[in-house]
Amino acid sequence: MEGWIHALRDLLVDNLRRSRFPLPADRSICSRWASGLPEGGRRVLYTSCMYQLAPLIARAVDVLERVGAGSGGVRAKMAAAGARLFGGLLLRPSDEEAGRADGILRNIAAMLGRAGVQFGVLRDEPYSGALLYELGFEEDFASYAREVYRYFKERGVEEVITVDPHTHYVLERAYPKYVDGFDLKVVSYMDLVRPSRASVAKAVVHDSCLYARYLDRYDVYRRLLDSAGVARVEDPYVTGKAYSGCCGGPIESVRPDVAGEVAKIRSRQLSRLSDVVVTVCPICRVNLSRAAPTLKVLDLAEVVS
């Protein structure tokens, strides 16, 4: 397993060095959604390409499982050796996946516009490095974070609006520890928008671990759903702050078999409350959708507008 983890590290670091994106993929998928929006400025909407990246991680996991990464032993070693090759050959989002990601980001931009928030976008924005940090490759993350910070400063950015918990967490909590003089203001789009309409009447919330237990946002997206008129189904042992289980996403690339089982257990718990699940993280949405295809798993920005 150790060999596999180090192969993963090499895969991520190589790709970030080459293209500021963690997996081998066409970078144009990251900015398609932003057509018509102004470029740059002091305040930018920073997606870190997470919504387009999430289905690619799911693709990579499918490949990892086929080549035996989760089973350990000789097959895992072979998978590790071939990681760079199969990544380059197979990682492509489907039109449906890419279109869905674009739609979510366009709705976030539209909600910000309606709330009177002025912002620009950076069409060549780099990935935040969250995967390196979460997998435990701290030194690699530190040097990459300094590079990303330099990128923002060179473009005169003073404030970033984030759209997902992983990017928000590393920018707000991890970057200041590793980047000297880090002074970007970090806000979440959820703190700025004022939605009034909803596409569903009733749903259960699947919390992001980072928003609920690290970033103190447990009530924020619940308030947004309430203001849009969505009836929330709650059960303290399923959706309570301490008991809202993880989707398994953070270990998808390390042990896809365990991550898949975690997602199945979580989707079974949620399905007992509602057949519509609202997520606030692109990785949770993809992971739960794969585990329970009959469940309607939607992103917050697909539900409120």
């Binding site: 671990c209 237990r213 690290y214 301490a242 398994g248 975690v262 257990i265």
Partner: protein, 89 residues
């Protein structure tokens, strides 16, 4: 960090909420097992495959910390042990 590990009374409340423990029911894949695996990593000996598997599969979801009666900073211990383990390799 060792002092944090020493405060574990092995009550097992953390296992009830740990997603990976509930998925596989193996003690090294739950918080109290991970604390003992972290101790091995801090001791600096050659890690077994169980130590690596244990520390690498923590989701960092923090569910365990919210139910720990001793308020042990479980995730901080695991993350630091994992960092040392990877840095050694």
């Amino acid at each position: 960090m060792i002092a944090e590990i020493d405060r574990c009374a092995r009550c097992g409340f953390c296992e009830a909420v740990c997603p990976t423990y509930n998925a596989v029911r193996m003690r090294h894949m739950g918080p109290r097992g991970r604390l003992q695996m972290a101790r091995i990593a801090f001791d600096g000996g050659a890690p077994s495959r169980y130590v690596v598997e244990s520390l690498a599969t923590c989701l960092r979801c923090r569910a365990c910390e919210l139910v720990c009666p001793a308020s042990i900073r479980i995730v901080d211990v695991i993350v630091e042990a994992r960092r040392r383990l990877y840095a050694r390799a």
